[in-house]
Amino acid sequence: MRRVSRIRAIRLVAGREIIERGRSRGYLLSLVFTIVLMLVGFIVPTLILGQTLTTRLALVGTPPAGLEQALTAAAAAGTQQLVLSSVPTRADAEAALHAGSIDAALEVPADLSAPGELIVVTDASAPLRAVVDQAVVGLRTGENAIATPVVDALQPQTAEDATASLFANAGIILMFIGIFSYGSWVLTGVVEEKQSRVVEVVLSTVRPRDLLMGKVLGIGLLALAQLVILVAVGLGVAQIGGRLALPETTLGAVVQLLVWFILGFALYSTTMGFLGSLASRAEEASTASMPVTLTATTAYILSIVVVQQDPSGILARVMTFIPPAAPMVVPLRVALGAIEPWEILLSIALTVATIWLLFVVGARVYSGAVLQVGSRMRLRDAWRASR
């Protein structure tokens, strides 16, 4: 009879998780569920943001006669609401745009000698353009009748910017969902093993730390496989649809996303695993993992609210070096192109060190708690009960 090396034991545990869970309906369902959630994650913000149907439009200088009425009439025909005002010069219009007191400005020569310009900050929405085009064209007669105003963006958004932002959002949603759905597999897996008492049979040959490690590794690989599938499908669809111009930073962003997914998963699911070992029944598992859930949710919300608005701000920089937040903050900053290489490296180092620490502490708590029966254990007792 051979001796079973620790690596083989970890591989066996991981293999069992992959086979047992990979062929379960739960895995497929979770894949579908994630795709749906991701779509919702994209669609809902655009719906909410796209709902600003009232546009504050300023007319520059002396507009052609009847433009105001034409605009109002065109707007009334559609869903686009207009609040009209006027500014004396183009400079005033730009100042007002920067200040945010108007959303767009329209400058058309009074004699209609030129197509005119629609001035915006980043981009003019399609409904706004439609209304403006219809009104201006309607006023004209003769040769230039079909010439529509040119859109002049003060800070034009490039395709790369759009893609980067999309990417950052997708990445952080995937990260959050991955940590929650697969992290909770680790959690419930640990509790089920404890509850069904099979852990006593397993631990008669496997070290507790190896069992925990194998479980995190196996479920993590499944999660990673799902992420790779999702990213590949997403990029594929984007390419075929021709909707996204993939920036040069795509490859780097994908690599960073995968690296941080692995780190984030290891960090969170290890914690969930050993906290789960404190619970004695499945119903207690969510209570036991509450601190992790709260931390992850806070990190997620801060990332989308704070970091996305100001990716190089002080808070974003600080969060980069807080390991529970780093897996969400860093890929976001990378995708937005607002991070220094040294920040990435230091953040990775800090996170890896934290994972190692969690494994050392966590494995001890785990081995102390997992063989106990009875009521929920306290962290301190589990630490002491350990060998």
Partner: protein
């Protein structure tokens, strides 16, 4: 040979093991007996590294037991547990591989044991879809799949029907005959008396009796005397103080006597009273030895308080 040497284990204020020592030889069926809470499960857990004794050690074939040694052991814990949703053949093969079998060996062994337990056609069933008795069989197969040198089974007979008990006993005998050490705990003392050669009785964390059942019986000072004298109504016993009457049933009396008793004198007295239809002199049953050993181990202080 399995040696348990001076094991001590405390859980907070509770002393689970208090210097327990015994040994179990290869090729012998050893019954590990004791009241609830006596330390049986803790002892087994110490053998499998699931609990670390405060002091003392465990040895197999003279060597301290470590993680590598344990791979050659098979364990069936009292709290049964396997993966409920895992197919049973894969489950057996999984545990076989954890004990050092290659994937191929483990699959072959799993098939063999399922065949042996009449579960070959259920190989792809999930454990939770099996009946209670069949789940119990899979649990035993898990302990056997890697052909262990030592089997430690916590209450293997509990919850089994008479056929299950017979199969279990047959397999344990067969393993012992193959030179495997077999130690199992049980509260079914008559069953243990029938199946086992040796017993270890533990009480309050200490071993209070150990050895071959025959030797323990022989060395016990008590004997059972079952006498039936036709038409006597048991009156021939009056005036004698060499015995304790356990039961009177018409002409038949069951007595407890010391092994130093003058049997000849008793027989003569019985003959004088009438026709002796029964006169049997037997050592005590295992259950009595057990009660005796366990009661003797109860501290006096505790009894006084009660």
């Amino acid at each position: 040979m399995l040696e348990i040497r001076n094991l001590t284990k405390r859980y907070g204020a509770v002393t689970a093991l208090d210097g327990a020592s015994f040994s179990a030889k290869r090729g012998r069926l050893v019954g590990f007996l004791g009241p609830n809470g006596a330390g049986k499960t803790t002892t087994m857990r110490c053998v499998f590294g699931l609990a670390t004794p405060d002091s003392g050690d465990t040895r197999w074939d003279g060597q301290p037991i470590d993680a590598v040694t344990r791979l050659r052991f098979g364990y069936m814990p009292e709290q049964r547990g396997l993966y409920p949703r895992m197919r049973i053949a894969e489950q057996l093969s999984y545990f076989g591989q954890h004990h050092g079998l290659t994937g191929r060996e483990a699959r072959a062994a799993a098939g063999l044991w399922l065949e042996r337990f009449g579960l070959a056609d259920r190989a792809k069933s999930k454990l939770e879809d099996l009946s209670h008795g069949n789940q119990q069989r899979v649990q035993l197969a898990t302990a056997l799949v890697h052909d262990p040198e030592l089997l430690v089974l916590d209450e293997p007979f509990s919850g089994l029907d008479p056929i299950g008990i017979a199969t279990m006993a047959e397999i344990l005998r067969e393993r012992a005959a193959a030179g495997v050490g077999v130690v199992f705990s049980s509260h079914q003392l008559d069953l243990v008396e029938e199946v086992c050669e040796d017993v270890v009785i533990i009480s309050r964390g200490r071993v209070v009796a150990e050895g071959a059942i025959e030797d323990l019986k022989a060395s016990s000072g008590r004997r059972h005397l079952d006498v039936e004298v036709a038409g006597s109504g048991g009156a021939w016993l009056d005036g004698r103080n060499t015995h304790t009457v356990l039961e009177r049933d018409g002409d038949r009396v069951k007595l407890l006597v010391e092994d130093s008793v003058d049997l000849g004198a008793l027989l003569t007295a019985a003959r004088d009273a009438g026709e002796v239809r029964r006169f049997s002199y037997e050592p005590p049953k295992l259950s009595e030895l057990f009660m005796e050993a366990v009661t003797a181990s109860q501290p006096v202080r505790e009894e006084a308080r009660a």
